[in-house]
């Protein structure tokens, strides 16, 4: 027998690449193609970044009148602070605007609070319920606060509320549709299929358009619904169809054995779904679901089409004001950053959640 190596005999792997230079060589300049690419990229950055920085920071205006902006050459960020009230809160009465502000803080705060998976208990649902009621009261008023009807809800709160409630209601509806699509009952199944395919086949703007323009024609004379509510319903119906397809994928991934095990314990259909199948299926599809939710969030900007004053529309209105008409670049950049922050937060959270849920499996 050859002599065995004892454990205490430390042998290190041959170390070839260490340090900053090693990293650069390994990651940026390995091979001529990569080197070329690196150089090209650096050149491009060198061409674009300095003028951009000059425009956006060095020569920019931050809190001036539009006239001053027109004189100077740089970015006119002033459009944001000068119009921030309207962009954020739209028609909400000025003396009451602390209410939507508080609502948004509440919403974001609750979202942050629920980030931690350890807090996912029954009590969290109660907290949310209370939070939603509180938000409703803040926005709508009553009980001591002056009533502000939904027609005046606009700006960022509208965007956030439309997308938040869009997600909250579309999700269960989508789950039901997915279950329906997998149902053995032919009529239910085909209705769900038709619904999902129809809704997915048309652009959201046509649905919004229908909800705003034609919906009243469908109703008996004199019956009208709130415009915001109608848009909300359109968003929910639209998003639900997409969620349904995602959830269906998750359901298909659950092995038959799980159904059989549940059956043989004597659980009925409802309990099987609620206790066994859905918890697993929904967990599997977290990433695509979040993808859909992010899309839904971005798509709320389409309510512009039906003249609802979400944050994009309030910005556009500001731009219609002759005073500020020329500064759409700055305004849109601001919006882009706003959306990016929200969407990026969602997507990176979903990635984290996915990782967390995977451990311990």
């Amino acid at each position: 027998m050859s002599d065995l190596i004892r454990d205490n005999e430390e042998i290190r792997p041959p170390v070839t690449k260490v340090g900053v230079l090693g990293w650069l060589r390994e990651n940026l300049f390995n091979g001529w193609f990569n080197s070329l690419l690196t150089l090209a990229t650096l050149y491009l950055l060198w061409l674009t970044i300095p003028p951009l920085v000059k425009w956006a920071f060095i020569e920019s205006h931050w809190y001036t009148d539009p006239g001053v902006c027109r004189e100077g050459g740089g970015a006119c960020w002033s459009i944001i602070p000068k119009n921030v009230r309207f962009i954020f809160f739209g028609f909400f009465p000025e003396d009451q605007q602390w209410r939507p502000a508080l609502t948004m803080i509440l919403l974001v705060g609750l979202a942050f609070y629920s980030k931690d998976r350890r807090r996912w208990k029954k009590s969290l649902a109660v907290i949310w319920l209370v939070g939603i009621l509180l938000m409703g009261w803040l926005m709508h008023g009553g009980l001591g606060l002056p009533v502000v009807e939904t027609g005046k809800w606009s700006g960022l709160p509208l965007t956030l509320l439309l997308s938040f409630f869009g997600m909250v209601f579309a999700y269960p509806l989508g789950v039901l549709l997915a279950l329906g699509r997998r149902s053995k009952l032919a009529a239910i199944k085909s209705m769900c299929v038709v619904y999902i395919e129809l809704i997915r086949g048309v652009p959201l703007i046509s649905l919004l358009f229908m909800s705003s323009v034609m919906f009243p024609l469908f109703l008996p004379e004199g019956v009208t619904f709130d415009k915001v509510l109608r848009a909300q319903v359109a968003i929910i119906l639209f998003t639900a169809a997409y969620i349904a397809e995602v959830v269906r994928g998750g359901l298909q991934a659950i092995p038959k054995g799980q159904y059989e095990a549940a059956d043989s314990l004597g659980l009925n259909y409802g309990k099987t779904m609620r206790l066994i199948i859905l918890p697993q299926a929904l967990k599997i599809v977290i990433p695509p679901t979040v993808g859909i939710l992010i899309s839904a969030f971005k798509d709320t900007s389409l309510v512009v089409i039906i003249a609802l004053y979400d944050v994009l529309k309030t910005t556009k209105v500001t731009l219609s004001n002759p005073e500020w008409m020329g500064f759409s670049t700055e305004a849109y950049l601001f919006l882009a950053a706003l959306y990016f922050v929200c969407c990026y937060a969602m997507s990176s959270y979903s990635r984290r959640l996915e990782k967390e849920l995977n451990t311990g499996r």
Partner: protein, 391 residues
């Protein structure tokens, strides 16, 4: 039969089959009732308001112009034709867009898996930025680049003779009409057929002798050389339809408008970010064992990708990519924001002028539904063709 006997004994609410029938009937009836009420209401409302309905307006004169119609169109044509122009424009931008976003998306998706740090970081950055900003804002951005960054027609950039770049778009010379063009086109067609035949011949040669021939290079040469030969035979006509600046604009040549380009670029970049993520996931879904098995029979890295990884990744990729293709088509309806005359834009003008919103919206939905359903039908067929055969 025994089973039928006990079936009758069981009360219907405890028999799953009967319960199912009952439930379905109830749901169907409810749906029908709702549909019927809506219909009756709409009828009554229309009657009451004495609003004109029907699609008669399609035959009336439209009276508005459309920029860059793909088929001849003028304000004297009917609404029907105007809408057709819009539909073709939608088709144009979405088919070109789908084609390029698939290519770009695949490249970026593969780059994201690259071992080069810079390449993979850049891909990630691209994907994050594109995915997380509403496409409408992106369209504004690209459009602004076009009209802000390029000069007016009088100062048009002229990088190559016959090619002009200005804020009216990219305008370039095309050969003046000549009878030989038809023949050149035919020759190119023959070349492509020849290419195709060459590939098949190459396969046969490989089957017979195992040799790999450079059939694609040969085919490409054929497709280029044949039309060239025809052109030379025809006396090498060199007359060009060169765009010239007359009055306000260039006349002659071919124009690619900034609106079309901005919409196309916006849609391609936005969609390709999603496609890239799908492609990456698809490639990662092919198990490592497959790659190892392929390597251990001695295939080269390129062959591993082409013969083993991609065919399997495609199955995972196709369904979500189909959704992205549909999304691109639907997102093209945002064209109205940057002045491209797609179907929604034309339909909007039509609704506006005729006031027939119901018909207009119905048409919009129908047209998109038609595009979507035909795309998904095709992709489902393709998907089925590619599906794995299993026990």
């Amino acid at each position: 039969m025994a089973t039928t006997e006990y079936r009758s004994k069981v009360p219907f609410w405890r028999d799953p089959v009967k319960r199912g029938h009952l439930f379905q009937a109830a749901v169907l009836l409810t749906a029908l009732a709702i549909g019927y009420t809506l219909f009756v209401n709409t009828q009554a409302n229309l009657q009451r308001q004495s609003i004109a309905t029907g699609f008669g307006f399609l035959e009336r004169e439209a009276g508005f112009e459309i920029a860059e119609p793909p088929i001849p169109y003028s304000a004297a044509d009917t609404y029907g034709r105007a809408l057709l122009v819009g539909a073709l424009n939608t088709l144009k931008v979405s088919s070109v867009g789908i084609f390029f976003s698939l290519i770009l998306g695949t490249i970026i998706g593969i780059s994201r898996l690259s071992h080069n740090w810079l390449v993979s970081r850049l891909s990630v950055a691209f994907i994050e930025v594109m995915q997380n900003i509403p496409v409408l804002l992106q369209l504004f951005f690209w459009y602004a680049i076009f009209y802000e960054a390029f000069p007016s027609p009088r100062q048009a950039l002229n990088p190559l003779p016959g090619l002009f770049l200005c804020n009216r778009g990219l305008i370039f010379a095309v050969p003046a009409a000549h009878p030989s063009h038809v023949w050149m086109l035919a020759a190119a067609g023959v070349g492509i057929v020849g290419w195709f035949l060459l590939v098949r011949w190459g396969h046969r040669v490989q089957d017979r002798t195992g040799r790999l021939l450079p059939v694609h290079r040969m085919g490409m040469a054929l497709t280029v050389l044949l039309p060239l030969a025809v052109w030379l035979l025809a006396g090498a006509p060199t007359a060009m339809d060169v765009p010239v600046l007359r009055g306000f604009n260039f006349r002659g040549g071919l124009t690619v408008s900034p609106e079309f380009s901005a919409l196309l670029i916006g849609l391609i970049l936005y969609t390709s970010a999603f496609v890239a993520e799908i492609v990456r996931a698809g490639i990662q879904a092919v198990s490592k064992g497959q790659i190892e098995a392929a390597m251990s029979i001695g295939l080269k890295p390129g062959q591993v990708l082409r013969l083993v990884v991609l065919p399997q990744a495609l199955r995972v990729i196709i369904p979500p990519v189909t959704s992205q293709m549909l999304n691109l088509t639907k997102n093209s309806s945002l064209a109205i924001a940057i002045g491209y005359a797609d179907f929604v834009s034309v339909a909007n003008t039509t609704i506006n002028q005729t006031g027939q919103a119901i018909e207009g919206v119905a048409l919009i939905m129908l047209v998109y539904l038609f595009f979507s359903l035909s795309t998904s039908l095709f992709m489902n067929w393709y998907n089925k063709k590619m599906a794995l055969v299993e026990r």
